[in-house]
């Protein structure tokens, strides 16, 4: 495996993107990054700009307004990068599938933008921080 992916697995810098979520998943993500769960052991760090990020933590169902901005955020994230879809809404629109404001499941739009995108699904409503850590670790060992 190339040294790029090996280094990526050892040090993952995350950026949090909210595409129209109810904020439950966002609260759990912020919980995850506190000293109690200590994700710095895995090399995970929260960064303030998508240009510094290796992984996007995406929550929310993907509303029409948000998808426009998500395309820009994804294109500004330097490749190689991983997209983690956190929560039932991000994994496949959840209970809002018939909503008038829903643009579509995020992974479908992501595949149209970039067929080689690496996408990981962490279901739950909201997923517990332990579930998120498990999802991230499993994804990183499977790349």
């Amino acid at each position: 495996m190339s040294w790029r992916m090996w280094a990526l697995k050892k040090s993952v810098w995350v950026f949090h993107v909210n595409l129209g979520a109810c904020n439950n998943c966002d609260i759990e993500i912020v919980n995850l990054l506190t000293p109690r769960y200590d994700v710095e052991r895995f090399g995970i760090k929260l960064v303030g700009s998508p240009r510094h990020a290796d992984a996007l933590l995406v929550t929310g169902v993907g509303t029409r307004q948000a998808i426009i901005r998500f395309r820009q955020v994804y294109s500004q994230t330097p490749k190689p990068c991983v997209v983690f879809l956190m929560g039932a809404c991000a994994c496949g629109t959840g209970i809002f599938h018939a909503g008038y404001h829903v643009e579509g499941p995020i992974d479908k739009i992501l595949r149209e933008m970039d067929p080689n995108a690496i996408i990981a699904y962490v279901p739950g409503c909201p997923p517990k921080p332990e579930a998120m850590i498990s999802g991230v670790v499993k994804t990183l060992s499977a790349i």
Partner: protein
């Protein structure tokens, strides 16, 4: 004011109302037609006076209803004014934002979602629908389907 004085104050505009109901101890419902809503709101906000909480828009099958919720905190009462808009083709009501700036945004939201026109609104612009949402499509109306 205690509750009896409050009810006496509310009875002063009885001629503009359809009826007054009190289904629970601390809940009063006043009903009126849409034409009288502006004057009643002005009375409730300025004369009584009550604290404005929020406005609700409902699409009942025969008419539209706009509910104005007020609170009287000294005794913990919530007073709601129901205004019936009978015209379903071009629903329209007088905006209360000129004397109650706090209602400006909620009226914009009701206009976005239900298509009710608020006359004399100081700043009617799109609030919560997406920028590229088509004009004239109001998502929360009963006849709108995906």
């Amino acid at each position: 004011m205690n509750q009896q004085e409050l009810k006496d104050r509310l009875a002063e505009i009885k001629d503009k109302l359809i009826d007054i109901q009190q289904p629970l101890d601390d809940r009063i419902f006043l009903s009126c037609e849409a034409e009288n809503a502006y004057a009643i709101n002005k009375f409730l906000f300025e004369e009584v006076p009550l604290r404005f909480v929020i406005t609700t828009g409902i699409d009942s099958d025969s008419c539209y209803e706009i509910l104005y919720h007020y609170a009287y905190d000294q005794i913990g009462y919530i007073i709601t004014l129901k205004a019936f808009i009978r015209d379903r083709e071009n629903p329209s009501i007088e905006s209360i934002a000129p004397f109650l700036p706090g209602a400006e945004w909620i009226e914009r939201e009701i206009h976005d979602l239900l298509g009710i026109e608020f006359r004399n609104h100081p700043n009617m612009r799109r609030l919560i629908l997406a920028d590229d949402w088509p004009e004239g499509v109001y998502p929360l109306r009963k006849e709108t389907r995906q």
